[in-house]
Symmetry: C2
Amino acid sequence: MLNIIHPDSAGVPAADRGLAYGDGLFETIRMRGRKAVLRSLHLDRMVADAGRLGIPVRRDDLDAEITRSGREAARRYGSDDWVLKLVLTRGVGGRGYRLPAECEPSLIVTSSAMPALPDPVGVVVALAQFPLTVNPRLAGIKTLNRLEQVMASSEFSGEEFELIMADTDGNLVEGTRTNLFVRLENEWITPPVQGLAVAGVMRQYALKCLRAAGHKVREQAIPPSLLSSPGLRGLYVLNSVIGVAPVRRMDGVDLPVDDGLETICDPLQTLE
Amino acid sequence: MLNIIHPDSAGVPAADRGLAYGDGLFETIRMRGRKAVLRSLHLDRMVADAGRLGIPVRRDDLDAEITRSGREAARRYGSDDWVLKLVLTRGVGGRGYRLPAECEPSLIVTSSAMPALPDPVGVVVALAQFPLTVNPRLAGIKTLNRLEQVMASSEFSGEEFELIMADTDGNLVEGTRTNLFVRLENEWITPPVQGLAVAGVMRQYALKCLRAAGHKVREQAIPPSLLSSPGLRGLYVLNSVIGVAPVRRMDGVDLPVDDGLETICDPLQTLE
């Protein structure tokens, strides 16, 4: 049975494995009134990744919760944009790290105001000193183990919209809350899922839009040197809440700004 | 201000960063009646590692909470052994991963019965297939990001007391809830802190006891081949709750059992 927790009415049990071990995952969904952006991709990812963690959940239950939350939040936000967060944990039980014999997951549902949208003429980013490590068996899953992103975020100095994290080989992997795309003369590059901490649904949507529009996209590592290659046309950070943001400066170096991706790929077209 | 949560009376706020991101750390302390095993080492570690994460906490506040919990639990457990868990999180606040301007940590205090102690003639272990990755900047900290240990624990088949996790190079690093020591003819080997997910206080205590007794201990990686070297005298798993357990079989292969470490290093001598 799925225990649904609406924090207006109750706290989360201290024994919940989401708190004890980060044993769970989450989705952060941009809403417009009652409708959700990239709804199907969010639902598909949460069900698939919960399956990888062995947390049973029915897609219909999550879908119904989006509908219910949308109806309720419409009273507060009207037709404005807001953000729905679904946290799914393995619930209470088990002995230490060991899984409970019968898993009764918790679904914690919260809403919040839209964050500031990025400047459409481009944002400023910097390289985080805090490195990113990815367990190959957890790659891409938006789990509740996000301490590396938190620690990297302590490096924000105010001007940056985002900090880019590199792996221990120095390759650029992703932002603290965004995925990366690089546009070169004849192709796009984005790091492959097996090296990602979080494989965002917006990344997935951008891949689909670019390929549908006839662009070539390669999934491969991004060495920092790629950003000083003569063929560079643009660097983008993206997620499903803020959409696509072109990067105009990284670590004090101006980058070319290309408005290609926002026009090819607009997640607001997917409201449902 | 430290918000102390005793789950008998209240749940944890859904917005607590411990739940949202695993943004915190914990100690699991063996108690005997009102007294704590390795009390000073636990307190020192929690304060030092909270400092590494930028979570402010006073040692005296934690110490007072051990005393208070001991007094209260004595009503339930008498002079028996039990386990005290202190979970310290960065509390509520901040925008996304970004840290709150003013950190008000949460301390969540729970007690539970002692787990079964290991068979003193030796335990059975197996190598987990799930690999361990360690961020060099978080090495050794018992953070709330423990999903790798949870996923490895799903491989328990019933007979094993512990599963040993290897890094992506194949070196044996630690158990899901224990650290490792190998005894050779003339020295002891334990993996160095910079490669550990959790640097247990019992590991620290064992290092101190061994060195005080004149033994040579080297901190270096443990390749699996070390366990078939002719000089092997024993493999141990240890933590501050169960103490020291010699391993008598790993992955179906019998290992020599040496009772050296339990006699050199008895954490119950440290009750205070």
